[in-house]
Structure formats: C-alpha cells, structure tokens
C-alpha cells in the first residue's frame, strides 16, 4: 500500500552511511561534501587493495573532515538551501510516512461527487493507542506517479475529498493528522472552473469548527493556500528543512524583483524556513530530521515525527470537544502583526 520509492534499510550499520549517501543525489550546495565523499571512497579502495597501509591515518583524517564539513554545512543553511532540501526528489512523501507508521493503514478514496484526486491521499491509520484519520498531499516518485499526482498539486476535488474525511472524523470523533508537502493549488483551467478558491475557503472554515484534535505537519513544501487548506490545526509541526510561504519564492521573485534570478533573496526576505515560521508564532514545533535531511534516513525521520505526533495527540485528546474548537480558533485569531493607535 505504501509507496516504497525510498531506500531499504541497509543491514550493515557501518557500511550504511556511505551507501545511503552515495545513492542520494547531491544538491548544489552539497557538492563539496559529495566531492570529499568521492575522495574517501577512492582512498578506501586503495587501502582495500592493500598497497598503502600507511594511508589509514589519512583516511581517518578525511573521515573526520567529512563529518565536520557535514555538520557545519547543515547548521548554516540559507533559506534557498532549505527549499532545495524540502524539494529533494528522494525526500519521503506522505505515503512513505503512512506506510512506516502503520503498514496496515486503510486508504479511502474520492470526493463522492465524481472525482478521486491522487494528489490528496486520505485514510484511516492506527498510531500508538490512537485511531486517526490521515490526510496528505502526495508528490509522485516515478514520472508516471508524478504526472498522476500532478506534482503534488491537488485539484479542487482533492480538497473536497479531504473535507469529506474531516467530516468523517468529526462524526466518529477521531483525531486528524494532515501531512503537507505541496507547491500549492494547481493554476489550471479546470481547477478555476471547479472553483478551487471556494474549495480551499470552505476547508478553512470547516476545519476551524471541528471538535476533534487536528495536527498538521509541513513535511516538505508548504505552498500558500493549497497548503493551508489542510493546515488549520490545533498544532502545526514543521520538519527541520521544510518551508512554508504565502507564495512560491519564484512567484515572489518575479513579482517583487521582476526577475527569476532573485529566488534566493525572496527565500530570505519571506522568512519561510521552519525555525523562522516558529519564531513568527505560526509553527508550534520544529521536528529534527536526520543530518542532511529526511531522505538520508526515512525510517528515523518517520519515527521522530511519530514520537512528536504521539506527544501532541496525548495532550490534545485530554481536551474537551469544545476546548479543541476554541483552541484552534484562538490560535489563528491571535496571528498577525499590527498596532492600534
């Protein structure tokens, strides 16, 4: 059921690090690291052939250097680096998390009005002691999947499918967990004709009125209204390298700087990284990812997120239905920056 496009867990823990690293496509800013890894590999090969046993020391030094570089590289990321990590093609997607949390999760389909949008995945899942309704945007792994999922951009029918499941959760008093990884709603002809603005707006209104716990997690890209449509929650979590913004940085750059080359500036100016979003009071928690990003160790990333979710679920399920609704409405009522003279 889960879409296993991610790496299988390697048996040998020692060999694991490099094996995983090699399989991962390095991003632009990761190139120096990849180069060093290549050199280490070469050296190891030479040592393996037994020709130069004195090189062992050099290898140790290089390995140390590698670890240091890796740590410093990932602790000084710019906005656009986080964006690149959030969009990494090997990053775990919604189905990867659902499958890891509960191999027997049950998928639900369709908006009951004529369409089943593959870009919005919905279902029922067990997590610890909790039974939850899950919802999430899905980017595809293979070309075929990507096309099918419209690169993670739901159609209005996708948001209505999610709404159907929200109402299901309300009826059976089940908590809701939403995973968000989407560039945004789809700017297409049919999407406009089918009134995606209304689909999003209704979700915002209805989510705010639910009496069950709602937790939303930005796992990758949180693109504008399309992300918010399943993002009105009691708790908003963000993975360490995820981003959340009012408009895509490309859109922002082309409108405000009138240039497609200023994406990095737009990323910085919009303050869209997980830590910045938390500082602005929108995100409640930043969930740590494995060093280098969730795609370096999807199992670890899924487990970390599961722990955080369980913690919040345990807190929220103690609240009464009325309190939950009030809590969610208050959370968004407070957000905004203005002065009153």
């Amino acid at each position: 059921m889960a879409n296993d496009g991610t790496d299988k867990e390697p048996k040998d823990k020692k060999a694991e690090k490099k094996m995983v690293d090699q399989k991962i496509t390095p991003l632009e800013f990761e190139k120096p690291l990849a180069l060093l890894a290549q050199q280490i590999e070469l050296l190891e090969k030479q040592i393996g052939e037994g020709a130069h046993p004195e090189l062992e020391n050099d290898l140790d030094r290089l390995n140390q250097q590698y670890d240091q570089l890796k740590r410093s590289l990932y602790s000084n990321l710019r906005g656009i680096d986080h964006l690149a990590l959030a969009r990494h093609p090997q990053r775990p997607y919604t189905r990867d998390y659902f499958g890891r949390w509960d191999a027997a999760w049950i998928e639900m389909h369709g908006d009951r009005k004529g369409v089943d949008d593959p870009a919005m995945v919905t279902g029922l899942l067990r997590m610890g002691d909790h039974k939850v309704v899950v919802c999430g945007t899905q980017k595809g792994r293979t070309i075929h999947e990507k096309k099918n999922c419209n690169f993670g951009m739901p159609q209005p029918e996708g948001y209505r499918k999610a709404l159907r499941l929200f109402q299901h959760a309300e009826k059976f008093q089940l908590p809701i967990i939403n995973l968000i990884d989407t560039p945004g709603a789809y700017p297409g002809l049919a999407a406009e004709e089918h009134n995606q603005a209304e689909a999003i707006a209704v979700n915002l209104r209805e989510l705010s009125g639910l009496t069950v716990p709602v937790i939303s997690v930005i796992t990758g890209e949180g693109g504008s209204g399309g992300a918010l449509a399943i993002g009105v929650a009691n708790r908003i979590l963000m993975l360490e390298h995820s981003v959340y913004s009012v408009i895509s940085p490309e859109g922002c750059a082309s409108i405000l700087w009138r240039s497609a080359d200023r994406v990095a500036d737009a990323c910085t100016a919009m303050k869209m990284t997980a830590r910045e979003i938390k500082q602005l009071g929108v995100a409640d928690e930043v969930v740590t990812e494995p060093l280098g990003g969730a795609h370096h160790d999807p199992d670890f990333a899924a487990e970390k997120l599961r722990e955080a979710l369980l913690r919040h679920l345990n807190e929220l399920t103690k609240m009464s239905p009325k309190e939950l609704r009030k809590d969610r409405q208050n959370k968004f009522r407070r957000l905004g920056a203005f002065v009153e003279s």
Binding site: A185, Y186, P187, G188, L189, A191, E192, E193, N195, Q196, A197, E198, I200, A201, V202, L204, R205, E206, S208, G209, S224, G225, L228, G231, V232, Y244, S245, V246, I247, G251, C252, I255, L256, W257, D265, A269, M270, K271, M272, I277, L280, V282, R328, Q329, F332, R333, L335, G336, A337, F338, V339, E340, S341
Partner: protein, 307 residues
C-alpha cells in the same frame, strides 16, 4: 438694467481681477473633469460619471471605485460609522525588496489617502442596519495583510454580536507578500471568524468587484451565503497569466469574468452597480424581516413562495 459706459468698464476690470484670483487648471484637474471610458473610449463628463455610480452610460463598463465612494453609493446618508480606523501594519519580517516595506506602506497611504485596504463599519441601507466591509484596490493593490485580516475578523465578530447582516465588498490582488506567512494566516483567521457567524444563522452577502484574486477569494470572498458579482469583474484564485504559462494554452476571452463565473455556478447573480443597492436591500429584508402581510390585507400565516 441701464448701465453707463464707465460702469461697464469698471465691472469688466472687476471681473478680470476676480478671474485672476482663480488659479488655472492643472493637467490633473483638467483630466478630472473628463474621463475616457476604458472600454468604449467614450469621453465622459466626470460629474455625470460619478452620478451614474462610475458606470459608463454608453457601454455599462464598471470603473473601479474607492471604499469611501462605495459607502456613499450604498449607505443611507450619514449613517456610516467606521470601526477600527486606527489599525496599522507593522513590518514583522523586516521585509526589503527594491524598497523597504515601511516605505511602501507610507507611499501607499499617501497615494490612496487610506490607512489600509479595508474600510469597515456599520451603516443602514433603507433603514436596515448592516455591517459593511469594503476593500479598496487603490491601497496596496487591496492586498490582505495582518490589518485587513484583523479588521475583517473584528467586523464579523461585531456583526455576530449585534446580530447584523454582513456585506463585504472584495477587491484584492491577494495576500500581502511583505508580511509573509502572517498574511497567509489571515485566510484562516477570517474564515474561522465566519464559522461562528455562519453557525449563528446570520446572513453574509459577499460582493465580488473588479478584481478579486488569491487569498481573498480563497477565504471570506467565496464564503458568502449569497455571492453577487459586478458585471465584468474578474475574479479567480490564480491569475490569468500564471495559468496560461502553466497550461501553455490560450484561455477564453471571458475567462474569470463575473459572467463566466455565473455560467460556471460560482456566483448567484451578476448585478449592475446601479441596481446593487436595491438588490442588497431586497435580499437583506428577505432574510431578516418577518413575512408579514401588508396592512389592510387579510391575516395570512402561511409563507408565500414566489416563483
């Protein structure tokens, strides 16, 4: 009246002196006298245009109108009372593109004469009390930042508390990028306020005017119990250019116009501005007044449903 020559010359001198007191018209003032219709190119006398609620009498093109003019057109004279006039934006992100955000705010304020892109208050329309929110595209492209979101939310809460019907005129380019994620959160804030309002069984009429896009459409503008659009108004979520670039095909000429929306089931009606006030009053009275028989007629308890 008999008038001798001396007197005539004296009068002429006086007239000349008086004329000198008047300043010559600046280009701006001259242009203010006449307006060319954007659609049919007809040259219109601005005063006539204003009296016709800024609708071209020849081709019915609806010019954009500012929030204050809109109040004049809708509310009973002198009945409008503004609420929350003193909310101002701050610069939560320290946002700088080619110019810092605070400078852009000051420029916008000077250009539009408004503090923010939404004017909100209470008024009466034909003696029917209403809560009225009017967006002004002339201020910062009608964009919704924290202040607009807060004012909309407060207006909704005020209407709920006083049990007033709510009318919001939208006109916006979308969420305000310069306030980043906080602007996006205003979508949730306003929609959430409408949830309580909705549950309280009160009437909300959303009026879509040229142009309404992005975050405003994807929140309160599309959540009206009834939705009215002005003729020719362009309304959508994504902009036309973005869609054309994405799907790489030409869109129909009338795409995202009020009439297109009507034929696609997205709005209840398209109403000319000259009939808007009357329509709104009718709708409000339908939902708020008891269906009492007219005085003189026999007592009637069953409601009458007209076709």
């Amino acid at each position: 009246m008999p008038m001798d020559l001396k007197e005539w010359f004296a009068n002429r001198r006086n007239r000349q002196q008086q004329a000198e007191v008047k300043q010559p018209l600046t280009t701006e003032e001259y242009c203010a006298l006449w307006t060319q219709c954007f659609q049919c190119r007809e040259l219109l006398y601005t005063r006539d245009l204003r009296e016709n609620l800024h609708v071209c009498p020849k081709c019915l093109y609806h010019f954009r109108v500012g929030a204050e003019q809109r109040v004049e057109q809708l509310a009973d004279p002198g009945s409008f009372e503004e609420i929350d006039p003193n909310l101002r934006s701050t610069d939560p992100l320290g946002f700088v593109d080619s110019e810092p955000y605070p400078k852009r705010l000051r420029d916008a304020e000077r250009k539009s004469g408004l503090v923010e892109a939404l004017l909100s208050g209470t008024a009466t329309m034909e003696q029917n009390p209403v809560a009225l929110g009017i967006m002004d595209f002339g201020h910062f492209g009608g964009s919704m930042g924290s202040v607009v979101g807060e004012k909309v939310a407060r207006l909704i809460e005020h209407a709920e508390e006083k049990r007033l019907p709510l009318i919001i005129f939208s006109s916006s380019g979308g969420a305000r990028m310069q306030e980043g994620i906080l602007s996006l959160m205003q979508l949730a804030k306003t929609s959430s306020a409408l949830k309580s309002f909705h549950d309280a069984g009160l009437l909300y009429i959303s009026v879509l005017t040229e142009p309404t896009y992005g975050g405003v459409t994807a929140s309160f503008a599309m959540l009206g119990d009834l939705i009215i659009a002005e003729p020719g108004a362009r309304v959508g979520f994504a902009g036309r250019r973005v869609i054309e670039q994405t799907i790489r095909q030409k869109l129909p000429a009338d795409f995202q116009t009020a009439e297109y929306l009507l034929s696609h089931g997205q709005v209840d009606m398209v109403v000319e501005r000259t009939k808007l006030r009357e329509t709104l009053v009718q709708l409000i009275e339908f939902h708020t007044k008891q269906n009492k028989p007219k005085s003189g007629s026999s007592q009637q308890t069953e409601p009458v449903y007209s076709r």
